[in-house]
């Protein structure tokens, strides 16, 4: 009997709950649509705290920000629905503007990280010169980009809804091939004047400019300790004005790589979310071209082809610089949504976590590889591993899940160690900071990884080979081919011409004595007593007849 009562009670409860839920659902389904009337808006404005109320202070934050703060187009009519809707739209764009600007400021701060890493990995006699290259590249790049680069890259980039449409950027020069139109370069935005004197255009200019400067500063690391300052200044200017913007247009400015999806059905077209290819590979590949032309530092290679380690002067600066760069990367990748408020932009959380995870596994990849290979944990390679992971996740960060990010970072961490060895020992290219491997090799790996690991849930529904779309992989390979086939060749020829006109390399005397005095006129660390390195003096005396007297001058 007791069992029957218990069962009946349970059934009754379930029935009551079901009826209640059903009634609730019915009530929701049949509820009349609520529409806000102008009268209600006026009432809301009337109920808002008065000036006298606000004068009492608002410690709980419940009185500040009400209907009275919405600008009214006609004071006689008062607050209308149109006013409210316009304010909602402006709020969305304002959130996106602030997000994009703040993340741009974070990327700008990465210049400090690059300066510390590069200078720390160079000898003390070249510290001022290396810091100055990192400092001046900011101005060179910014000025060139304002004059010409932005117009080439983003002159045809209209249609960015997150920033209000960017309609003034509406001129993309294109050619017609095989019945399709292919964008080549933009044509509006010189000097940010004319119609491009526009709030949205200013925001995208700032954000794209700091990305461009990141690419430029990569080259200074690979060519450190022997690059003539004048040649560096000319080369950086041209890279900021032409080389970087060209590829930037093709990938991000509505150019032909971005059109591979619509024109040739290759996935979603070339996809590079935050710039493994556009920023890092362009910088790394140009660094390779210039460092080939500049040649290796005196004493780097022996006559039998073996190489010598040239130890940097400040590993603490290197490690702090790496952390600054990792911090700035939170602007680099999440900021590339160009907004925090609109459909899909809440992906910024995933992008930030992907970024930090890839940096973590990249560090582990390099650290463990070097530990197992040499028996010691290599600090500078661990730092490079962190950067390699971050570089590699830059392109896929908007398209992959956290497991994919970990795998991409781990592979990048090992890859950077192998690549550094290959560039130095096989190609005989001297790269004091490993910039070619960190940014070039791992940048290309990042571009490729989009075609493999993109899971279709992220921005633009990009789907890679492992998630069922081989055509995206082809689009990524076309991008890689363009980077190493076109960008490398273009950068190489431009810098070969600069070598003819300007001369890329400093004199033997300057190089042996250190570039701080001859190029900058001031030592980086004037209170240090510089001790000539005996092994390099042997090279200098045997091959160039330079003696230690250069230090007296």
């Amino acid at each position: 009997m007791r069992k029957i009562v218990r069962s009946s009670s349970i059934c009754l409860c379930i029935l009551t709950m079901a009826l209640a839920m059903g009634a609730s659902a019915w009530a929701q389904a049949s509820a009349p649509a609520v529409s806000l009337t102008t009268k209600e808006l006026a009432a809301a404005a009337a109920q808002a705290p008065t000036t006298a109320d606000l004068a009492q202070g608002d410690p709980s934050g419940t009185k500040t920000g009400t209907a009275t703060n919405i600008p009214v187009s006609n004071p006689k009519v008062g607050l209308t629905l149109a006013d409210t809707a316009n304010q909602v739209g402006q709020n969305q764009i304002a959130i996106n503007f602030v997000w994009t600007l703040v993340t741009g400021f974070l990327v700008m701060f990465m210049q400090a990280g690059f300066a510390m890493v590069e200078s720390g990995l160079c000898r003390v006699k070249n510290s001022n010169h290396t810091y100055m290259m990192n400092f001046v590249v900011y101005g060179c790049g910014l000025f060139a980009y304002w004059l010409l680069g932005f117009a080439i890259q983003m002159g045809g980039a209209a249609g960015v809804a997150n920033l209000g449409g960017l309609q003034p950027l509406a001129v993309e020069h294109a050619i017609s091939l095989f019945g399709k139109s292919w964008g080549l370069f933009g044509g509006t935005g010189y000097f940010l004047s004319g119609h491009t004197y526009d709030v949205g255009v200013m925001v995208i200019f700032l954000f794209e400019m700091v990305f461009m400067d990141t690419a430029l500063t990569i080259v200074t690391g690979a060519c450190a300790e022997r690059w003539k300052f004048l040649a560096f200044a000319v080369s950086s200017f041209i890279m900021g004005a032409v080389t970087y913007p060209l590829y930037g247009n093709w990938a991000w400015g509505g150019g032909w790589l971005a059109q591979l999806g619509s024109n040739l059905h290759l996935g979603a077209g070339y996809a590079d979310f935050a710039g493994s290819g556009v920023v890092h590979a362009v910088g790394g590949i140009t660094a390779l071209a210039v460092s080939m032309i500049v040649g290796p530092r005196i004493g780097k290679f022996n006559s039998d082809g073996t190489s010598n380690s040239i130890i940097g002067h400040d590993i603490s600066a290197v490690m702090v610089g790496c952390f600054i760069l990792a911090f700035g990367w939170f602007g680099f990748n999440p900021g590339s949504t160009l907004g925090a408020s609109a459909a899909g932009n809440l992906r910024i959380g995933t992008i930030a976590v992907d970024t930090m995870l890839a940096g973590c596994t990249g560090t582990f990849g390099a650290l463990l590889y070097m530990w197992m290979k040499n028996g010691k944990v290599d600090a500078s390679m661990s730092g490079n591993g962190l950067l390699a992971g971050l570089v590699a996740i830059t392109a896929p960060s908007g398209f992959v899940n956290t497991v994919g990010a970990c795998i991409i970072g781990l592979i990048a961490g090992v890859l950077v160690c192998l690549s550094c060895s290959f560039v130095e020992n096989f190609m005989k290219v001297d790269d004091p900071v490993g910039a070619v491997s960190v940014h070039g090799t791992c940048g290309l790996w990042g571009v490729l990884s989009v075609g493999l690991f993109a899971d279709g849930t992220g921005m633009g529904s990009v789907r890679g080979l492992f998630y069922g779309d081989p055509s995206q992989l082809v689009a990524q390979l076309v991008g890689i081919s363009t980077l190493i086939g076109f960008i490398f060749t273009f950068s190489f020829l431009v810098n070969l011409a600069i070598d003819v006109f300007v001369g890329q390399r400093v004199s033997v005397e300057s190089e042996i004595g250190g570039l701080d005095l001859p190029e900058m006129g001031q030592l980086g660390y004037p209170e240090f007593v510089y001790r000539p390195e005996p092994e390099f003096m042997q090279h200098a005396e045997a091959k160039y007849g330079v003696t230690s007297s250069v230090f007296a001058s």
């Binding site: 300052f229 004048l230 032309i293 040649g295 005196i298 290219v429 086939g485 070969l496 001369g503 900058m520």
Partner: protein, 129 residues
């Protein structure tokens, strides 16, 4: 010779000429555009020639001249790889075919970068002596 006043002067000319050149591009269809373009281009050439004139004063560098033709061949091979990839996109519409041709193009470019160019630059390298 190290950094000096002449370098500073020619770089200033380079920057000013670049501004004028870009102003010409901006106003190309206007009345002054073409004139500015020509003046800017002349200024750029003058700055580069000036830099070339003072280049020998730099003194000896730790580089020996390498085979220039071989360097250009290396750059040509590199560019050829890109051309192969691009034409591959139009030669076939099959995804497999495009994939293979893109990989062939990348391999050709890498051959130019990794094999031909280092051979050109290292042929007369100072460190070999």
């Amino acid at each position: 010779m190290a950094a000096n006043r002449s370098q500073g002067r020619y770089y200033t000319l380079f920057l000013v000429a670049s501004i004028v050149l870009c102003a010409g591009l901006y106003d190309y269809s206007g009345g002054m555009g073409k004139l500015l373009l020509i003046v800017g281009a002349v200024g750029l050439v003058a700055s580069l020639l000036g830099m070339m004139r003072i280049k020998p004063l730099e003194g000896r560098t730790a580089l020996k001249p390498g085979p220039g033709f071989m360097k250009l061949v290396g750059a040509g091979v590199c560019a050829l790889g890109w051309v192969i990839t691009l034409f591959g996109l139009h030669m076939t519409s099959s995804m497999g075919g495009r994939l293979v041709l893109a990989l062939v193009g990348i391999s050709v470019s890498l051959f130019g970068i990794v094999v031909v160019l280092p051979a050109a630059f290292n042929k007369n390298a100072v460190w070999k002596a």
